[in-house]
Amino acid sequence: MKRRGLLGLLSVLLAVALLAGGCGGGTPEGEGPIVIGGIIDLTGPTSDVGMPFYEGAKAYEEYLNSLGGINGREVRLDFIDYAYNIERAKEAYNRLVKRTGVPAIHGWGTGDTDALKSFVARDQIPYLSGSYAEYLVNIEEAPYNFVVPATYTDQARIALKWVKDNWPEDRAPRVAFVYNNTPFGTSHLADAKAFAEELGFEVVEDQVIDLRALDATTQMLGLKNSRADFAIIQGTSNMAATILKDARKLGLDTQFIGLNWAFDEKVIELAGAAAEGYIGVVPFAFPGDDVPGMADIKSYLESKGKSLKDINQKFIQGWVSAKILFEGVRRAGDELTGVNIRQGLESLRDFDLGGLAAPVTFTAQSHRGTEYSRLAQVVDGGVTYLTDWISYK
């Protein structure tokens, strides 16, 4: 009996040793595929939006390869799941930069993008990200970070500007902020509040909700007591759905406005009737939009036996992000270094995305892709645009 136990144990040790040994081997250099790194959350608290984003980015990679890749070379986006854990993001970053040797990376969360920005700058790795935090466009502190759509701060400003322009009453509107206590949830707060006060709004309430919360009753009661006219949500789809459901249950008449990650089809699906009237700042197109850029996605999906009904807006977001990153790679020329890809990205001037997002401009002085976004509202379970591409200025 004892012996069998030991044999089992030895075989386990052997297996572990084999596994450890099996992880060796890098990617061959030269005329193989162009490998770009990716860090994404597929299993953590933001996986609700991370998964479709990942699928969209991978879809663009496949689509690009079906067109012959870049300069005849196949492209590959190697994503690593980091479960929204900064330590694992750092590990993934090292894996990509120091073992695979990628020249550019598409990252994900605000906390980890921020944590990595000094390493990114030192290793000269152009870094697009799913995070649109304002401080990532600070060119001195983050010279290799790029932000594709309007930053969270600009999105909040656009929302406030729209409220200002459409406010029917004489008194100042009362505005509240609902967010999660992470770098992602709070990066816009100070600037957005300052802007609200500049517009003469009354900032009445802050409510903090966990990204994974399934109940927001307490926070919604607080919001109700503050009699806020508008509340700006910074979170993900699941969090927004929880808020909308509980707000309806408690009979709030606050108008909620979600920033990019808090407004998509999933919110409508999860919140049902409670989502009716919900407004979102939408920097990317929805699959139902009739825009020229959608044709590529449609033809890709059809080649897979799917249709636009199978994807959501976050898929398009991933697609667009990957498209811009690969455009930078294409413009980098033959020598694929981080510096060249950065210059490639910085040569984008009003880069037309066929209506999938606002045209993107990067220069050596500014990595702020655009200041424009649209606002949309949930009407009869569908998305209706309230505005064209607008800026807060």
Partner: protein, 355 residues
């Protein structure tokens, strides 16, 4: 010292005086082995790529934290699920000293540990009255309170946005890459191991174990239970604080997201899998738990390439595998990897005449 044949393995520990009995290393062969292991780790960065060095750094920091927790849970028998928060205290204390006050890292590191020890000792006070589950909940309160304070004291901690920490410098050299930081972590990890091994040869360490085995009996023997329980909390939190301070300066940024209850539970899992009440166990556990997600991911990648669509499933499996491992260890080898390793060694020592 009796003369020994260096080429023959001992089949057991045989000592004739207290001095030999107290030795950390019993066999002369083992001493060579320890030196060889240290030498190996000294040249390790030159043998492998920088990626592996960065993984080693994460493991080294985990080892320090895990030894700290094992001193409290494994050796003193006081459960704690606030270890992650105590790491946070150390990281923030050190971070405030280096980033806000501009002090040297070499002052901030021990001070970070001491502040963590102070806070840890404070939250250890209820342990006099509370045992088992009740103490677990009390330390959970520590976790929640500390996280809350970090988030809601932006004047000191900059709130949820977190702090950017400068890289440590020594004699004009900035320790800002993996290899230079590796040696810093290696030295501190070795010191942490040596201190812990020696701790259990002292009166304090033996008192810890007496408290663990039966605190009433320990009290009857004249051990001041309160003093030793609080000391255990303080020592454990000192380790956590140093690990946290190192971690923060290694990553260059800290935010409340880093020091959640998940970290506390991960460290508990490390010492359960590695072996409660064993310094070596904490080391094995830290290695195992840090490498597990990486190995699972590489596997998921390898399988995912050959069987499309399996990557998602494999990735989601990680959490399940993690839970399953802890249950299996609790059932089949409660003494963890350290015991398994001993079993293997004993098997070969006694082969072919095992009894």
């Amino acid at each position: 010292m009796r003369p020994r044949n260096p080429f023959v393995m001992d089949c057991g520990v045989f000592t004739t005086n207290y001095r030999e009995d107290m030795a950390i290393i019993h066999h002369p062969g083992a001493k060579l082995k320890v030196l060889a292991v240290i030498a190996f780790f000294l040249v390790f960065p030159f043998m492998v790529g920088p990626y592996y060095v960065s993984v080693a750094n994460l493991i080294g920091i985990a080892i320090i934290g895990a030894i700290g927790l094992n001193i409290l849970v494994g050796f003193t028998g006081q459960i704690s699920i606030g270890h992650g928060a105590f790491m946070g205290v150390g990281a923030y204390a050190a971070g405030i000293l280096t980033a806000t006050l501009g002090l040297s890292f070499w002052i901030a590191l021990p001070v970070g540990g001491l502040v963590a020890a102070l806070i840890g000792g404070l939250f250890g006070v209820p342990s006099l009255r509370l045992k088992g589950l009740y103490l677990a909940i009390a330390t959970l309160a520590a976790q929640v309170i500390i996280e809350f304070v970090i988030v809601h004291w932006p004047a000191l901690t900059r709130g949820p946005a977190g702090m950017v920490l400068p890289a440590p410098t020594i004699g004009g050299i900035t320790l800002d890459d993996d290899t230079s930081f590796y040696y810093l972590i290696l030295i501190i990890t070795l010191a942490a191991i040596v201190f812990a091994l020696n701790l259990f040869r002292t009166r304090t360490g033996r008192a810890f174990m007496a408290v663990r085995d039966r605190d009433l009996a320990a009290a009857v023997m004249g051990i001041n239970i309160f003093k030793y329980k609080v000391t255990a909390f303080a020592v454990s939190s000192f380790y956590a604080g140093v690990a946290g301070a190192l971690w923060g300066h290694y990553l260059g940024v800290i935010s409340p997201e880093h020091f959640t209850i998940h970290v506390s539970i991960l460290y508990l899992a490390m010492i359960i899998v590695g072996g409660l009440g064993s310094v070596m166990g904490a080391i094995y556990g830290a290695c195992f738990m840090t490498l597990l997600p990486i190995v699972l991911r590489e596997l998921a990648d390898a399988f995912g390439r050959s069987f499309g669509g399996l990557t998602h499933v494999m990735l989601s499996m990680q959490e399940a595998v993690f839970g399953l491992l802890i249950i299996l260890f609790l059932i089949f080898e409660p003494d963890g990897l350290a015991k398994m390793w001993r079993n293997v060694k004993n098997y070969f020592k006694l082969w072919p005449f095992s009894y």
